[in-house]
Amino acid sequence: MNWITEHKIPLGSWMEAFVDWLTFNAAGFFDAISVSLEWVILSVVEIFQWFPPYVPMIMAAALAWALHRRISLVIFVVLALLLILNLGYWQEMLETFVLVLTATTLSVVMGVPIGILAAHKPKLYTFMRPILDMMQTIPTFVYLIPTLVLFGLGVVPGLISTIIFAIAAPIRLTYLGISKVPEELIEAGKAFGATPSKLLFKVELPAAMPSIMAGITQCIMLSLSMVVIAALVGADGLGKPVIRALNTVNISQGFEAGLAIVLVAIILDRIFKNPGSKEES
C-alpha cells in the first residue's frame, strides 16, 4: 500500500499548471472580461442608486401587478422593500439584485441555446450531462479559487462562479421542454411547410415555454443562493454584511442581513414564478 501513497498522482498540480498557463497566456482576455463585466454591473447599480428608493419600489410593485394581478402580492412586495430600506440595506439589496439579474441574464442567454442544441442532438446531451452534474455538485468554494486567480478580486469572480453554478438549470429545463414537445405538433409544423427556424420559433419554443420559464425561475433562485459565497471574493451586496457579521460574531447584523436576503428571495420567487398562469390561485 505504501507504493500507492508514495506515488501520488499530481492531479492538483496539473490543474494548477493549467490555470497558470491560462493566466500567463490569456491574461488579457480574462482581464477584458473582468473589466467590462465589472463596469456593466457597477453602472447598472449606479443607475438604480441614482433614483430615490420609491422609484424601484414602484417598479417592483408594478411588475408584480402586471404579471400576477394580485393586490396581496403587491402589498407584500412594497412592505418587504420598505423593511429592507428601514434596516439600512437598500444599497446592498440593489447590488445583490443587479448581481442576480446579470448572472441570470448571462445564464439564460447561454443556457437556452445550449439546451436547444442538446435537445436536437441527443448524443451531445449524453456527453453534457455528467459535466452539468459536476458543475452543480462540486463545492462552489472550489471553483471560486481559479476564478479568483483568473479574474482578480471583486464582483466578477463571484458572478462567474454564480453562472457556473446556476446555468445548469436553464440548460436542463430547456432541453427537457424542447424534447417533450408532442411529435404531432412538430409534424403539424412540418406538414404546413415550416422551415427549421420557423419550426423552432413558432412551434418548439412556444411549446417548451412553460419549462423554459421554470428553468429561468430556478436560475434566479440558484443565483441568489450564491450571494454570500460571492461576497467572500469581494462581490458587493447583502452577502458582505453576513460575512462581516460572521467574522465579528455580530448576531444582530447577521440576523438583519440574513432577513434581507430571505425577503429578496421571496420577492423574486413570487414575482417570477409562473407569470400569467391562472392555476396558481
Binding site: 404531432e184 405538433l185 409534424e187 403539424a188 406538414a191 404546413f192 411547410g193 415550416a194 412556444p206 411549446a207
Partner: protein, 402 residues
Amino acid sequence: MSAISIRNLDVVFGDKVEASLKLLDQGKTRQEIIDLGGNVVGVHNASIDVAEGEICVLMGLSGSGKSSLLRAVNGLNPISRGELLVRDGEQMVDIGSCDETTLRHMRTRRISMVFQNFALMPWLTVLDNVAFGLEMQGMGKQERRAKAMEKLEMVGLHEWSDKYAHELSGGMQQRVGLARAFAMDSDILLMDEPFSALDPLIRSQLQDELIELQQRLNKTILFVSHDLDEALKIGTNIAIMESAKIIQHGRPEDIVLNPVNHYVEQFVAHTNPLNVLKGRSLMTNTAQLERLEDMLVLNRNDNTCISTNTDGQVISASRQGKPLALHHWQEGQNISQLPEDTLVMATPDISMRQAIEIRYRTGHPVLLNEKDSLIGILSDKDFYHALLGKHFTTTEAGMAGG
C-alpha cells in the same frame, strides 16, 4: 387526371434501409425482417393513383401501413424506394427526390394535412391556429387573420375565434383542424384518421360536413380510416391495406361485393351495407322468378303476380286475382308519400336503404326496371342476405336457399 400517382413505393423506417429492402426483395415478411435485424417496413410496393377531386380512403387495421403511406405523400415519412408524384399545376413533382425548397413549396401551397389528435397549438387562439399555415406561407398578420376568419365561418366557429383550443370540444377542435387545412387553399388534403378520436354522433356529423364541403370545394382527399363504414360513406375509392401492402383498391361497392380475401371479408361482414349496396347487386333476376302460366310470381302466399309483355315491360299486377296499382318511383321522390299497397318500380341504381324504405311503406317487393323492362326484383330474402353480410356469397346462398 391524377393528382397523386404512386408507383412501387416502399417506406422503411430507420438506418438500415438498404439491407431491409434487400430482405424485402427476398420475400421476407415484416416480422422476419425485424428478427433478422432489419428495420420496420411501413409500406411495401404500393401503387395507387388518386384522381383530382376524388376522396380516396386508405383502410386497414392499425399497423397496416395506411398512415405510413399517407405521411409519405407530404414527405413526413421517408420514401425509401419507388416513385411518389404529386401534381403541382401542370407538372408532377416527385416527393422522394425533390429538394427542400420544392418540398416546402408543396407543403405550403399544394398539400395540407388534418391530424387524428387535431395537433392544434395550445398557446395560439383558435383564429391564430387556423392562420398557422398561412403564417408559414409568409402571409402578413392582418391578411392571414382575415382569411382565417373566413374559413372559421365556413366551419361555423367564427364566434370562438379568440378562444384557446382546450376550451373547445373535440368535434370543434377538429373543425379548427379542418379550417386550418382549408385555409391553405391547397388542392390536396391528407386526413389521418381525422374523426377517430371523436364520439360516434359527432363523427357522423363531421363526415356529413366533410362530404358537403367537398361538394363545394372539390379537393383531392387522401383519407385514412380504420372504419369501413366511414370509408364506404365518404370514399370515391377505397384502398385496403394489410401488413404494409395494398391488397384491394376499388369503388366502395366493389369492395363490399367482391372482397379479395378473408381479411377484407371480415371488414365487410361488419359493415352496414345500407348505404353502399345498389339494387342491381342485390336483386333476384327475372329469370330466377317462379312462373305461373304467363305470369311471374312475386309472393306465392298471397298469390301476388305480375305479367309482362314480350319486351319485358310490366303491364299489370294482381293479388288473389284483384288488380294491384303500379307506381314509378324516381330518385328524389318522397317515399313516405307513396300510396300504400302498390307495386313500386324503380331503377336498379336504387340504394338498399331506399329499397327497404319502399318495401316497408308499400308492403310489396320492389320491381327494378331498366330501359322500361323488368330485370329483377328486390324481396325480403334479398334484403336479409345483404343485412346478414352474405351478399358476397350470393351464388352459394341463392343455391342453398333455392
